[in-house]
């Protein structure tokens, strides 16, 4: 069962990675204009 000591930290750090990615996106204004984003993705520039 020593594998748990390896696997659980890996699972937790992956989860933390996801959480910090979300918080970064929130702070970066990625969710400020949800409706506009679907149109912006189609613009050329």
């Amino acid at each position: 069962m020593t594998v748990l000591l390896l696997v659980i930290p890996i699972a937790l750090s992956l989860g933390t990675l996801g959480l910090s990615a979300f918080l970064w996106a929130l702070r970066n204004g990625q969710f400020d204009d949800i409706e506009g984003a679907e149109y912006r993705v189609l613009r050329d520039d």
Binding site: L12, G15, Y39
Partner: protein
């Protein structure tokens, strides 16, 4: 210039004769609308009207990017707001931005900084961060909890189980401390104010679950409920975020509308220069300039200039009123064709607007005392749940079980009854239903209004601007031919609303070169040596013709035209009914609703409209207190009244009624008082709102009943001590899912069930007629 009055005369003349008063033709000072960032760059926010598609967004952003000094222009499509940033060294030229937007065909108005509710945005972000943390925690805790559940029925060693419990505690305790703060604070605030809110059972449930789990883990027990506590927070925060999103969205649109209506005034400085100021900065004695076609921003007395005022938003009266120096003017009146310099009056508390506001506040206070569904549910729910937990504790103690077992079961009752589904039941329906209404051109000001729309059995309409279109059109049976064509072309050079009605009859025509507007009188031009005049009867010397036209159309106003010395022609212009007004009124009456018209206009004008719509109950010449009195009398007799109105004089009535609706062209006080605003020329949104309200209420009640049924099953189970963490997790997530899926049904059907007639009495001949009226 020699003196202030001379400067004022110049300003008035310039404003009246300038080619297009809507464009900033004079240098105006917008400094009050610019915010400076720490690095010295300037930033300003604008409410933009008319943004409908991705093309609009691209046109605006590309069009503004080329302006000198602009470092970025970004339009938020979600709330129709444009943020422009200038580079550090550049001067923030708001006038240039407005002119560029105008050239692109969009109407815009800068926001005064600070009016944007930053607090709301901060709160939304805080809730979303809490939601993210709770989601992270519940996923990871669940991962470990499922291992324990599986281990309990197979070969997990107690040491490993304890390790897993402690890892869960390490994740769940800090996460709950952070993500649960909105609830803990709410419960604390409520207790201090002596109120029991829904936050209290949530806080108790979460805290007790965590404490119990830690105690059980210390004892090396087989069950811990860390997963239940985090999942609970996750689901409840979804409900909170939905609720907050709903509130923020409706408020953002209300603020945009308020900014686009005359929320700023043009102040005349001592030297004669002009400055745009927010309305709040106006003081008694301030002199303001009201350009032709603008709304009067504040009550005052005319100092210079003469013009016709359209007071229909203020009093409901449709005939224009001539004003000149010394006459009082009221906020909300639409200026005709002359520029006015107005001195804002000191009469605080006695002005028409103040009187209206006071009536409105009183009425709103009365309405806010009415309990909405969510409050009623809380009042029932909280004591019941706590009583059930106390009973469980007492019951087990009486039955001879030890303190440990009795407490465990009592806490289990609190956990399983924690209002996951209840917290989602109402906000989820509100968000989905308001989104569906938005697509039909209705903006909801207040989420709780949906429940009130559902109970309506009486509909009261204002006439001017509500049953009729806000802009006048040419009456039927008018003189045709050359005179009309010439008059229509000449009308293009005037900004008077009545002239606009004439101009609309000749689409694509070019204005006469050299046509000029005579302030307060009309417009004239010389074409092929013939002097053409269009304007008041006096201006065209056509009093006899005007009277003849008024005799035929008693509800109309008259605009006259004369070519040289030929016989003058009088055109009757009137407020025409909204295209589907008759169909909507008929549908309402067929569905068994009482329909009334309460108007401030003159009886002859109201009678014509009432007869054409088949409304037998109508009253004319009513003042705002009269309207409130009529509506309160109706409500005392047990009717639930929906008030539909747009005027300043309707605002108190809108607030007094059980629910209210305004067209988007309404006075801004009315917009603030109304529960919802509708866009467009049609009256059909009235039906859509009533149908959506009934549907939303039905879904909310279904959700509440489902939550109650869920508790009826879960509480005995928990009280009997049969609740394992697995059952708790399944019950909580299952009930939340059912409630959310049920709420999604508010999305469908509003378009099809727009007419109550289609609900109660299927009538195939009606449906297409109404469908045509809807966009």
């Amino acid at each position: 210039m020699c003196c202030t009055d001379m400067a004022l005369a110049y300003v008035e003349a310039h404003a009246a004769w300038s080619e297009a008063n809507t464009k900033p033709s004079l240098s105006r000072d917008y400094a009050a609308f610019v915010a400076r960032a720490a690095d010295g760059s300037a930033r300003a926010a604008f409410a933009v009207e008319g943004v409908r598609c991705a093309g609009c967004m691209a046109a605006i952003e590309d069009g503004l990017a080329g302006l000198p000094g602009v470092s970025s222009a970004r339009l938020s499509f979600s709330d129709r707001r444009l943020t422009v940033t200038w580079t550090g060294e550049a001067e923030a030229d708001i006038g240039a931005v407005l002119a560029a937007l105008d050239a692109l065909g969009f109407k815009a108005q800068p926001f005064a900084p600070g009016r944007l509710s930053d607090a709301e945005a901060t709160e939304t972000r805080r809730l979303i961060r809490a939601l993210a943390v709770a989601g992270f925690a519940s996923m990871n805790v669940m991962l470990l909890a499922i291992s324990v559940w599986a281990g309990n029925v197979s070969d997990m060693t107690p040491e490993n189980r304890d390790l897993f419990h402690w890892i869960q505690a390490m994740i769940a305790l800090p996460a709950a401390a952070y993500a649960g703060r909105p609830f803990y604070e709410g419960a604390f605030r409520g207790l201090r104010a002596g109120r029991v809110t829904m936050d209290l059972p949530i806080t108790l449930g979460v805290v007790l679950t965590l404490v119990m789990s830690v105690v059980e883990s210390l004892a090396g027990a087989a069950h811990a409920y860390f997963d239940g506590a985090t999942m609970l927070l996750f689901f409840l925060l979804i409900g909170r975020v939905l609720d907050q999103t709903m509130r923020r969205r409706t408020r953002a649109f209300a603020e945009n509308l308020a900014a686009l209506r005359s929320e700023s005034a043009t102040q005349v400085e001592a030297g004669g220069s002009l400055r745009d100021v927010p309305l709040a900065e106006l003081r008694p004695g301030t002199r303001i300039l009201v350009r032709p076609g603008e709304r009067v921003p504040a009550d005052g007395v005319v100092e210079h200039g003469a013009s016709d005022l359209d007071q229909s938003l203020v009093t409901g009266e449709t005939a224009a009123i001539g004003v000149r120096g010394g006459d009082p003017v009221f906020a909300g009146a639409l200026n005709g064709d002359g520029a006015l310099t107005v001195r804002v009056t000191a009469a605080a508390g006695t002005s028409l607007l103040d009187a209206v506001e006071e009536l409105m506040q009183r009425a709103l206070a009365a309405r806010s005392r009415a309990l909405v569904l969510a409050d009623r549910a809380t009042r029932l729910y909280v004591p019941l749940v706590h009583a059930a937990a106390a009973l469980t504790l007492a019951g087990w103690l009486a039955a001879g079980a030890g303190w440990h077992a009795a407490l465990l079961d009592a806490v289990a009752v609190l956990i399983v009854t924690c209002p996951c589904a209840l917290g989602l039941a109402i906000p989820a329906v509100q968000v989905v239903a308001s989104g569906a209404l938005f697509r039909e051109g209705v903006l909801l000001n207040d989420g709780t209004a949906l429940e009130r729309f559902a109970e309506i059995d009486t509909v009261v309409f204002d006439k001017t601007g509500t049953l009729t279109l806000p802009l006048p059109t040419l009456a039927d049976g008018q003189p045709e031919g050359g005179a009309l064509r010439l008059a229509a072309r000449l009308a293009l050079s005037s900004r008077h609303p009545m002239a606009a009605a004439l101009a609309a009859t000749a689409p694509g025509a070019e204005p006469f070169p050299g046509a000029e507007e005579a302030a307060g009188l009309g417009v004239r031009a010389v074409v092929d040596g013939v002097a053409l005049r269009l304007g008041s009867a006096r201006f065209c010397e056509a009093e006899a013709q005007a009277e003849a036209a008024l005799a035929v159309h008693p509800d109309a106003s008259v605009i006259c035209f004369r070519a040289g010395d030929a016989a003058p022609v009088a055109f009757a212009v009137r407020q025409s009914l909204r295209p589907d007004a008759a169909a909507v009124v008929e549908t309402l009456q067929q569905a068994g609703r009482r329909v009334l018209i309460l108007s401030g206009d003159r009886p002859s004008a109201v009678e014509v409209v009432a007869r054409r719509l088949g409304v037998t109950e109508w009253e004319a010449g009513l003042t705002p207190p009269d309207k409130i009195a009529r509506i309160e009398a109706l409500q005392r007799s047990g009717r639930r009244v929906l008030m539909v109105g747009d005027g300043l004089n309707d605002a108190p009535a809108l607030a007094a009624a059980h629910a209210s609706l305004s067209p988007v062209t309404a006075a801004h006080v009315s917009q603030a008082a109304a529960d919802a605003l509708f866009l467009g020329r049609d009256l059909a949104p009235v039906l859509a709102v009533l149908a959506a309200g009934r549907r939303a209420r039905r879904l909310m009640l279904q959700n509440l009943w489902f939550s109650a049924a869920y508790n009826l099953v879960a509480v005995p189970l928990a009280a009997a001590g049969l609740l394992t963490p697995l059952i708790a997790a399944l019950a909580m997530s299952g009930s939340s899912l059912v409630v959310t899926l049920n709420a999604l049904r508010a999305r469908t059907g509003t378009a099809r069930q727009g007419s109550p007639a289609a609900n109660t009495a299927p009538d195939p001949t009606r449906a297409p007629q109404l469908a045509r009226g809807r966009p």
